[in-house]
């Protein structure tokens, strides 16, 4: 049977067919849909883990216990999971173990474009790179075989264009591989120094030479001979882009198994072609290796290191083709950056914070709230990585004090980020007596990546009821004083105002928890479907104060302020902001404003 699938859907299908029993992940673009699709197979236990490190450790434990297991994450997630990753490399596996890293050349939705192929030689873990959806499915099955054959974890590297491109996939059947026997083996699985020293030597002496030999013989690394003038060494999405650009005008060495790299295949390929181009996105990973073999090739001296390498770039560099002409227009479009949605529960508190520009610094985090840093709110001095909203705020605040700036620091992050790595920052702030104000924007869901459940949601990935971890109790248990905790409804501006005022006056760590579910959650949309706000034209003076909250539902049409009924959910932040009381909320039958 044939089906049109994204790379992520095909990876999930591959997991199913490979007999995987345990799959874990933390959501992150472009990897999120892998586990979402895996969770639809009842044969596989799947879980949203609290972060990527936890996800990898869950999968590792399952592997040692005897099952085929996998953990998936976005590229920066592997940084979080790097600690177990490097030592799992020594230990090897029992049931097959595959770690999926979804990289983002071009940073469509990420904070950096690190090339996670480099993790493979660093940790000495086998590396596999599929190029399209069919290969995602087929190679994942191969990855489990390789993992078990060579007693190694396998890093499975995909990129946005592979994850989010739909292609035709031929489906297969599930193979039940069952659960392997677990035999206690501290020398293999207890990495105290004495055992680790042995395992490191064993890995270098036994496993890596075998993998190296495999790399030179496997059909995952294949030579396609066409015209001998141009030779292309490539992998992943770049293979598809190169084929699209050059077709039969080039010969190819397609690398599907990319750590260890196949030295013999490179040498053989070099004999067949006159000139070698190494086409790879981001780092010159294969290029450096090939050059070290003494083989001449063209890589990053011609191809860009930053961003994606498209068919057009390849045609320009390899064939010398100029960019096709196109239409040039005299009107330029205004920018269209992403924005906080109409009715977003983050808007109210961000607007209130925006009034204190000279009194506070805001260390923000990864999630929808990073949008608060753009116009017209401009709330956010830093965004770096998951959890840093709190922890970087601790350092920022210390130096603000040393420099006597008289400014408080507000650290901002969401509920899922709090569970991911915000809790550790909270404990640090309490333990080290920081005056940081920690704002937890609790919208009951992992919103930015498209609504995944988290420990605060009350449901698991399958939609089943799950314990709802109470953030307020955690904050209290960590030792934040009762009077320094404010739990508020961020739709009510007076509560935002009072909480921020109290935080500014308080001493010691202070926590504000905003509680209001994401406006895009289906049940929320249903509940608020009949709520909307409307401008009274007679009272409106067009002072544009309501524009400062940055709501995409409010616009000026024909010199009249209009609120789009379809987008508006009656959150009433604009109603409360209007100095002339010119905006009113309407509640049609069935709507309920809470």
């Amino acid at each position: 049977m044939k089906k049109l699938m994204t790379g992520n859907e095909a990876i999930a299908r591959g997991a199913y067919e490979a007999g995987v029993l345990v799959a874990s992940a933390y959501p992150g673009t472009p990897s999120t849909e892998i586990l979402e699709n895996v969770s639809m197979y009842d044969e596989i236990y799947s879980e949203w883990s609290t972060n990527e490190k936890v996800a990898l450790e869950v999968a590792f434990g399952a592997s040692v216990s005897g099952a085929r297991a996998m953990a998936s994450m976005k590229h920066v997630g592997l940084n979080v999971a790097a600690d177990p990753f490097f030592t799992i490399a020594y230990e090897g596996v029992n049931g097959g173990l595959v770690v999926i890293t979804a990289d983002e050349p071009g940073m469509h939705s990420s904070q950096n474009e690190q090339d996670n192929r480099l993790y493979a030689p660093h940790a000495k873990v086998a590396l596999i790179e599929p190029s399209d959806s069919q290969e995602c499915k087929d190679y994942l099955k191969r990855a489990f075989e390789i993992s078990e054959q060579f007693d190694t974890a396998v890093l499975f590297r995909v990129t946005t264009r592979v994850c989010h491109t739909k292609g035709i996939v031929e489906l297969g059947e599930r193979e039940e591989v069952g659960i392997r026997e677990y035999i206690k083996n501290p020398k293999k699985y207890v990495m105290v120094p004495a055992n680790a020293k042995e395992k490191h030597i064993e890995m270098e002496r036994d496993r890596l030479p075998k993998l190296h030999e495999f790399s030179n013989t496997t059909d995952l690394n294949r030579i396609e001979l066409n015209d001998s003038k141009i030779g292309v060494v490539t992998s992943g999405a770049c293979y598809m882009n190169a084929k699209e650009a050059l077709g039969d005008k080039a010969s190819y060495l397609k690398i599907g198994f990319s750590y260890p790299l196949p030295d013999e295949k490179f040498k053989e390929f070099a004999k067949h072609v006159e000139k070698i181009y190494v086409i790879e996105e981001n780092e010159p990973y294969m290029e450096n290796y090939i050059k070290a073999l003494g083989i001449d090739c063209i890589g990053k001296e011609e191809f860009p290191l930053c961003g994606e390498i498209t068919p057009q770039i390849i045609r320009r560099i390899v064939l010398g083709e100029s960019t096709p002409s196109t239409y040039k227009l005299d009107i330029l479009p205004p920018n269209r950056p992403p924005a906080l949605c109409a009715g977003c529960p983050h808007r109210g508190i961000f607007y209130e914070m925006s009034k204190y520009k000279n009194k506070i610094n805001v260390t923000s985090d990864i999630g929808c709230y990073s949008l608060g840093a753009s116009a017209p709110l401009y709330v956010g001095d830093t965004v770096i990585c998951m959890g840093a909203g709190f922890s970087s705020g601790i350092g920022f605040d210390r130096v603000n004090k040393m420099a006597e700036r008289g400014k408080k620091v507000f650290g901002v992050l969401g509920d899922s980020t709090f569970f991911h790595s915000g809790m550790t920052g909270l404990v640090d702030a309490v333990y080290n007596k920081s005056d940081l104000v920690m704002v937890i924007l609790d919208n009951r869901i992992t919103a930015m990546t498209g609504h995944q459940e988290n420990p605060g949601t009350g449901r698991n990935i399958k939609g089943e009821e799950a314990p709802m971890i109470d953030i307020v109790s955690i904050v209290k248990a960590c030792g934040v004083k009762e009077e320094n905790i404010k739990v508020i409804n961020p739709y009510i501006m007076s509560q935002n105002k009072e909480a921020i005022k109290a935080a500014l006056e308080a001493e010691g760590p202070f926590v504000i928890i905003t509680k209001q579910p994401c406006a895009l959650i289906k049940e929320v949309q249903k509940k608020r479907a009949n709520l909307y706000s409307e401008v009274d034209d007679e009272k409106c003076t067009k002072c544009k104060t309501c524009f400062r909250i940055g709501c995409p539902a409010i616009s000026m049409v024909d010199n009249k302020v209009i609120i789009d009924k379809v987008q508006c959910n009656g959150c009433t932040v604009c109603v409360q902001t209007c100095p002339y009381k010119a905006i009113k909320v309407h509640q049609e039958r069935g709507g309920k404003n809470e």
Binding site: K2, T326, L329, R336
Partner: protein, 190 residues
């Protein structure tokens, strides 16, 4: 020869749904097809694009400067933004609807006048339609993406594929009637 199709619009307009329907129909017709969707931040009212290529054998769906046979803009300034991807002599299908981006709402930038006129003056083949109005005529403003699907199908000459069955497959049952009407409105535009 492969055909390439770039769909551009605003997060929430239902572009990815239209792209799924198109790709599925093309696959069943026997074409090789690849569709690339870039999302993530884009669901928050940002600019969204999908790229579809179909033909005998497709390797990469990526469309660069001057490469799209058809550009389908679900909002008119998105036609301006992506026009450079259109081939000379390619077809532009543009929805006349205006969705103000935040910098315009905040008064930092202006929404330009005369967009459709400029497009018609400079681009050889322009199909311009008020998809929202057509969708409203069919009963539901939200179906404007399905109107655009209808126009696109007609412009590509792919009416022989059973699109109505695909619409039924991907959309909730109670919306079938209005969406099929919207699709037919799109077909009738040309």
């Amino acid at each position: 020869m492969n055909k390439s199709l770039l769909l551009a619009g605003v997060g929430g307009q239902g572009i990815i749904l239209v792209s799924k329907i198109l790709s599925e129909g093309l696959m069943e017709e026997g074409f090789d097809v690849k569709m690339s969707e870039i999302h993530g931040m884009s669901q928050r009212g940002g600019s969204v694009t999908t790229q579809i290529k179909f033909g005998q054998k497709v390797y990469s769906p990526i469309i660069n400067t001057g490469e799209a046979d058809v550009l389908v803009a679900f909002e008119k300034i998105e036609a301006l933004r992506y026009i450079e991807n259109l081939k000379i002599s390619g077809t532009l299908i543009v929805n006349e609807e205006e969705i103000f981006p935040l910098p315009v709402l905040a008064g930092l930038e202006e929404y330009p006048d005369g967009v459709i006129e400029e497009l018609k003056n400079k681009v050889d083949h322009v199909i311009s339609i008020d998809a929202r109005k057509a969708a409203l005529d069919a009963g539901e403003a939200k179906s404007s993406n399905i109107v655009m699907l209808g126009v696109t199908v007609k412009a590509l000459g792919l009416e022989n594929i059973d699109w109505e069955e695909k619409i039924k497959k991907y959309l909730p049952p109670k919306t079938h009637e209005k969406n099929i009407l919207a699709f037919r409105k799109g077909l009738e535009t040309l």
